[in-house]
């Protein structure tokens, strides 16, 4: 069994969860009582998004500040830098055994330095401040 088969249980489990979810979601739909009242007003009110009783305001002007989008970008960049650390981390122990530990340390030192500089700049540039 080439090890690509190892994926099968993952897919089976995922399928299982999906099936279970779908059954329940539509199950409650079927089982539960229907909102049979024809009166459009009650339909409207009942389906209105829950605003602690306040009349629902339009979705249109939901303005999400740039901060979130900025965090997402920084997340990607730092995430990739962390991902680059993984192979290094794995290799580090072996490289110490075969004597190239210092070299690996140096290389990662530079990389981490860049990471830190990036982080410091972000902090200094108040990109991460949530007011």
């Amino acid at each position: 069994m080439t090890n690509s088969g190892a994926l099968l249980p993952v897919i089976i489990l995922a399928a299982l969860v999906l099936v279970f979810g779908v059954i329940i979601v539509f199950g409650t739909g079927l089982l539960g009582p229907k909102n049979t009242s024809k009166d459009p007003a009650s339909q409207k009110v009942k389906n209105m998004p829950y605003e602690c009783g306040l009349p629902g305001t339009e979705m249109a002007d939901t303005k999400i500040s740039i901060k979130f989008y900025l965090t997402a970008i920084l997340f990607i960049l730092f995430d990739i830098e962390i991902i680059f650390m993984y192979p290094w981390a794995i290799k580090f122990l072996d490289s110490i055994q075969d004597g190239t530990g210092g070299y690996m340390l140096g290389v990662m030192g530079v990389f981490v330095l860049l990471f830190v500089v990036g982080l410091i700049w972000e902090v200094k540039s108040k990109a991460l401040d949530w007011n």
Binding site: S4, G5, A60, I66, Y69, I73, F75, L77, Y86, L114
Partner: protein
């Protein structure tokens, strides 16, 4: 055609990938495009796994599916996107040319690939655990591609600074 487990897996994942790719370009609501792209990413990660490139599959999941697409979805929400009335660019003739050029690219690449004989994957030699393959990758990364590795670090730094600067631009060129 003896369909071994592996083949089923490949065709399933390939099917999902192609369908979701189609979804990406055909959906009129950009959010759905993003989600179908996420599905593509996951299926591609699966394909990597089927090629026993475990670490890269994991990275694909984390970086692409987990980070880039989250950014896409978040930006789309930022833009309060609605279903686009005209999703495709105007111009029938240019449209025709575009389709033709894409088809040609596929025809040539596909043709070349199919023509190059039936390259079978040789069986894996010896025990290849994900950790071991990652170690080989690390070896390669820090010996042969050291410079590009550091360059990547630098690039990410600059992008971080650039993105922040870009998002802070107040007036555009046509600050009307």
């Amino acid at each position: 055609m003896s369909l071994s487990l592996n083949d089923i897996l490949f065709y399933f994942l390939a099917g999902v990938a192609v369908l979701s790719a189609l979804g990406v370009i055909l959906q009129s609501n950009p959010i759905y495009c993003a989600l179908s792209l996420a599905l593509t990413m996951v299926s591609v990660a699966g394909l990597f796994a089927s090629l026993s490139a475990w670490f890269v599959a994991g990275v694909q999941l984390i970086v692409y599916a987990g980070a880039v697409l989250v950014l896409f979805v978040m930006v789309l929400m930022l833009f309060d996107t609605k279903t686009e009335k005209r999703a495709f660019s105007k111009g029938i003739v240019s449209g025709f040319f575009k389709i033709v050029s894409a088809a040609m690219i596929f025809a040539i690449a596909g043709g070349a690939a199919s023509m190059s004989g039936d390259a079978r994957f040789s069986k894996l030699t010896g025990v290849v655990s994900a950790t071991q393959s990652t170690k080989d990758l690390a070896d390669l990364l820090f010996k042969k591609y050291l410079f590009s590795f550091e360059a990547m670090g630098a690039l990410l730094l600059f992008i971080a600074i650039g993105a922040v600067a870009l998002s802070r631009i107040q007036g555009g060129t046509h600050a009307d």
